[in-house]
Subunit: 200 residues, 4 copies
């Protein structure tokens, strides 16, 4: 079994992105699963293009996209992506679409095709704070999640796909002491556990 | 130099107390300082008594009391303790004093005599989220902090004393995914750094 | 023009539901629009049935469902409803569906067909805190919002439909002083403004 | 009986200060008590000077200082003021003292001499969210509260004094929809109730 796991480069004036920092720490094999890692640009256009190109090249059995959700205290296993982009800040190419349909011929939303409830249960059983989330926002993360699910639905029906939002790392909130964070070790362990669930 | 660092036993239906879990992980010598560890009961009466007895026995140069503040996202270096006990929940002896003066012959408040601002600066410089806090609450933590400072002021004028509140551990919030936590490693590193500052 | 606005009865141990308290205060005509009011039971089954029956009987031009979202600080103009019910607590009939598809023949999600962005702009211009929300949760509110949008899509294509979540009233948080609330007057003014936008 | 109630002018880029907006709405007599209103500048130096001058001129039986605490959801009846100024932002004169003792010959702290617990009880009984607070911060509010209590202790021993922090008004958070606020009517009613308690 082969999994493509993607993180993003830093955005919104951050120097690191916890999604990519954690993915760098993952082993290349988990529970018998081949783990392929890819960094995506935090860009509405290039993020999606980079992911789709890799899916064609690698043809994995599953793909998990991972992104930063500043302020949350636990891993957010995203349940649904919507066909809407609405950016409050600019992406790394300077784009900030407003109330824009991502793909005009696609449906309103897709549910993740990963076993989301099982991932939450196994993360919690491992002592890792986690929950289902019902909104991946309307920035690049949701666009990438939505497009990957549409790509799977239309081009690679056996591909399982989904998204995990992760908290800030402690280093990002040193001067924002009211904002929650999670250690790199725990985020990494959470992603490893999520991948290992896919082998079941 | 000799430091007494204290943590509390679990309270409020928790099975662990992050203050004591972290203290157990500390080395017994930090930056040339002898580190003595002591668990206090989360009890208005016995907590204070246990601490004062240990201060007489050990006669340390400094003491740091550490306690759990569920919900905070960073280490809280307490700046002040007030002469007031007002408990919303029961302590581990079933006591919950209401609007009660802790010591009738003591002043309204004491400032911590540890170098609190320097501790915050050095924690942040080490990548550990931390801030000054101006209220240690009105439960057992504040009572212990206040009593230790009064004891120092009246009985052991060279003793430096202060209090650090720490977040929940991740294991405590697995099923409360909106509540902040901090890893055991980071809490422990923070306490070690706070002690090392005392050598300066 | 005719609008059906619905609120819910109290649930989750509350004695009132701010949605219905505010709707009771609305005039029966706003900006030339006939306002029809209806209380729905907080019930996955009866809530939907009551709404659909009223839509057939009244054949309004638009319908706004309103519900309580305890803890939010502003009016939440919901942008999307998903085809998923997942209840953490019981509804008023004792039901708590888990990871259940609401309507097996319906799509994954519907976007609200009310002018949501314009409503947010006009509320804010009137001094009423408001924002777009991208998740109506997975309890009765989302089920009613989803079903109304599906009903409109399949049975009454000209019907505009959407959902507004409102904060607690101050009376509900008197003993929970860290929880946000909004005055009855402001919630009512917000709903009145949202209806008046429909006349444009 | 005569009460001096003070609010502050706007600070920190706000255009209004809810403390003064509410005080302007108070009647000049409450429950047989003469109510005198005064606006203080949000200035470490002039705020205190303006208050002390008014206390000498008016010689009231009690004084309540009121200030804005952005982000809180309820009225905060302050229990204690500390002899420490530590400003993160500049006051309206451009001053931002760091770790500075307010009055070198004064004690570490003063408890409010208003019936704080009774005020909280009566506010809650009136349906107004309120709680005791154990930190008035370290900005101008705490300095004014501390200085007024020191003035009472040393110059006017019969003067009762204390401080109430109030939330933002809705108009201040229209574009910050996650931040709590309270209506002008409820803040005003809360201050009126707090004053009326003083007649008991």
């Amino acid at each position: 079994m082969r999994v493509l796991i993607t993180g993003f480069d830093p955005f919104d004036n951050e120097e690191i992105n916890p999604s990519w920092e954690a993915i760098k720490c993952l082993p290349t094999e988990i529970n018998g699963i081949e783990v392929h890692k890819l960094q995506l640009p935090t860009s509405f256009e290039r993020g999606v293009a980079t992911l789709v190109e890799a899916l064609f090249a690698l043809r994995p059995d599953a793909t998990i996209q991972v992104g930063q959700h500043g302020g949350v205290a636990s891993l957010q296993i995203e349940r649904v992506a919507i066909n809407l982009a609405n950016a409050r800040i600019s992406d790394n190419d300077g784009n900030s679409p407003k109330e824009k349909t991502i793909l005009t011929k696609a449906p309103t939303a897709y549910f993740a095709t990963l076993p989301t409830a099982q991932i939450v249960r196994e993360l919690q059983a491992s002592g890792i704070p986690a929950q289902l989330s019902y909104s991946a926002g309307t920035f690049v993360c949701n666009t990438v999640m939505f497009t990957a699910l549409h790509f799977a639905a239309t081009e690679m029906p056996t591909l399982k796909s989904g998204f995990i939002h992760v908290p800030y790392l402690p280093a990002q909130v040193v001067n924002r002491p009211a904002v929650a964070s999670m250690s790199l070790e725990m985020i990494t362990a959470g992603l490893e556990k999520a991948i290992s669930v896919l082998a079941d």
